[in-house]
Symmetry: C2
Subunit: 468 residues, 2 copies
Amino acid sequence: MPAPISNRRVEPAACEAAIAELKLLVGDRLSTAAAVREQHGRDESYHASVPPDAVVFATSTEDVSAVVKICARHKVPIIAYGTGTSLEGHVAALHGGVCVDLSRMNQIVEVNADDLDCRVGPGVTRKQLNEYLRDTGLFFPIDPGADASLGGMTATRASGTNAVRYGTMRENVLALIVVLADGRVIRTSKRARKSSAGYDLTRLFVGSEGTLGIITEITLRLYGIPAAISTAMCAFPTVSEAVNTVIQTIQSGIPVARIEIADELQMDAINKYSKLSLKVAPTLWLEFHGSAASVAEQAGMVQAIAGEHGGTNFEWTTNAEERKRLWQARHDAAYANKALRPGCQVWATDVCVPISRLAQCIEETKADLATSFLPAPLVGHVGDGNFHLTLVLDPNDPKEVAECERLNRRLVARALALDGTCTGEHGVGYGKVDFLVAEHGEAVSVMRMIKNALDPDNLMNPGKIVRM
Amino acid sequence: MPAPISNRRVEPAACEAAIAELKLLVGDRLSTAAAVREQHGRDESYHASVPPDAVVFATSTEDVSAVVKICARHKVPIIAYGTGTSLEGHVAALHGGVCVDLSRMNQIVEVNADDLDCRVGPGVTRKQLNEYLRDTGLFFPIDPGADASLGGMTATRASGTNAVRYGTMRENVLALIVVLADGRVIRTSKRARKSSAGYDLTRLFVGSEGTLGIITEITLRLYGIPAAISTAMCAFPTVSEAVNTVIQTIQSGIPVARIEIADELQMDAINKYSKLSLKVAPTLWLEFHGSAASVAEQAGMVQAIAGEHGGTNFEWTTNAEERKRLWQARHDAAYANKALRPGCQVWATDVCVPISRLAQCIEETKADLATSFLPAPLVGHVGDGNFHLTLVLDPNDPKEVAECERLNRRLVARALALDGTCTGEHGVGYGKVDFLVAEHGEAVSVMRMIKNALDPDNLMNPGKIVRM
């Protein structure tokens, strides 16, 4: 496991003074209990917990601003926390300091149905929002695996299975309220659908992982629930044939909403876990959104394309129950992987490459994995060129940890050489700080200039994204 | 006409020294001819020319880097120039300095058909790119009125009629090569379709109007030319009915590619200019992209919605000649407006509001205009909530200039009060510096912090976007 960069902890006296002052401000909304701190120092990844010195449960933008001002005065680090479902140690208190838990800021402030947008607190989760929207005929499409908070999804530039059609958080955040490192509050944009009014501060804070400020309100785009949905599933002789089906589908302008891939290892794991007898071969799932006529037409067009690429067992349906059955196998992938080695943890890789390089990247990766002793099923958001290996490891076995590091390092290098990125949707945290330098080179110095300008004392989630 | 902020011109001696050094570097690719400087100090707006001290015709990223390094050493301002088709004085050399003309960097470096992307020099124009792509079955959808350079379109975050479906430059730039204020060169991103790898430098430079660096290469998204296109045109009793048709169309999930509006004044001008007898009433044009069956279905669905809102004279067609005829009237709008007062100039306003506020914004604006002596036809990209008044004025008549300023000021204040923006697609230049402060408040100080971090000597297109 990479060692946390925790050598520059905050001065204990400064931290104690800040906590004492915070306690006067927020009362019992501050906790220094070991269990609470331990929980707030870890996410869902293989990274060990690095607990903060205290946790404040914030209730409003003004509250966050007051907390940040106190911490800034004492030069104490501040780490924002949503649901703790990040995957690269984003919430680890590497330098100590105060964790600001935003989960209580879970109000859906406003839904503007005519404008297809809404304003939400950072603690609202994606499932909570969609539950709330159910009767409006609208939905929010971004769906990382976890039921993450929308603040956290914004901060990591999350995506998921719908990105090929609906984009990522980058495309779906219209405006933000942000508390800056000195406690000042800004709104990054008005609610207009587009604007050329100055620097794109919204996009600067999307993906900034709490290192430039704390997001306390998000204006999001919404979409009408499609009149009809069709789902298709199809097996292919090789990953290349599956990927070529995807390329041709997208080039044909078929407005596919989801295209997911699983390799034969993943299909085998699913069969074993879910007691199915699906073909053990690279498999695509596709989903189409539109009118009844249009989704039938789209499925038919893709069936023809898949046929040209050796696709077999093509099934498609608009029936809700049947659709659920087809997707179930894909949804079971995560559970199936954990069941491969009960009691073990998973290390999810996250490279994303141009789609023309995807087949090559996956095939070279699978050849590399064939020499490893660790199981590593593969799933991917193949329409975007993004795929995940699930490395199933015992985190207490240094040999297994070293093997994961080796495989991941080689995978990232391969993706970068193919003009891809080390992280399609999980973010940098502190797990990928060095990969960021390998990926962006000199541009990281510009990131550092921005970080230094907005947070000169390096107090906002220090040690993440860039080393100062 | 607002006075240019030209009170802090560069030291003449420093400027002369820089120009002498540049001349050694680039030879006859540097010009100090009055006519060349005059042309490079003006765009297509009402803003008067503010000529630079010299113009360098750059040929490569390395060339731009060398030029910037010389200027930086002498503390001489640098202004990037594409086609000079901006609308808010973006290219005016307010503090003097050197204009870097990028029009010779017009190479289409690479088209990746499988990935639906391409890399182009900043001097490539949108029409040049689409001409080049014609045989590939691909196209680039962003279409501001002018045949602007893609570097300029990136720098102003341009859009046009297709944004409702394809987004603006914000959504369609994948990566940039940028020469920074000190001459260093960065690439902002790899070519992957999505990434969570650090701060979104791509989006930071999109819309930065040459104030943070000079864009020397752009990686753009491309799209497959749709199998079929249908175009529809329809008149409405009121602007509200037209806008409500648009809202319902978008909420129904109909993936409309274009929705344009013109008011009755604009239709009257078009009739007179083009010798047509179109109904003098608020009019919508719509375009649908997809399969033959899908575009027919979409047009039919919108016809039904328009019918519910009093739409009359609904015509739609997939025939290329007929489509051209329907669009011709919309394309004639700009010429029709200029013909209203031969010899006059136009001042194009550019507010954009949430679509639920659009009818109110247009109606209040038309009531305001009814008291004015200036003609001001209205067209708009109504799917985005963006509309333009064409104020037709004699720029030498102070009374007319003052009236334009008054109307525009009131229009912007109205749009901001409706949660809109002062500029949907034209950018800030120096014409909207004060409106930016009205729109963003404290957030402008963050823009200033970023500008100061990346360009501490305020040499990159100074006086634009933010005052330092």
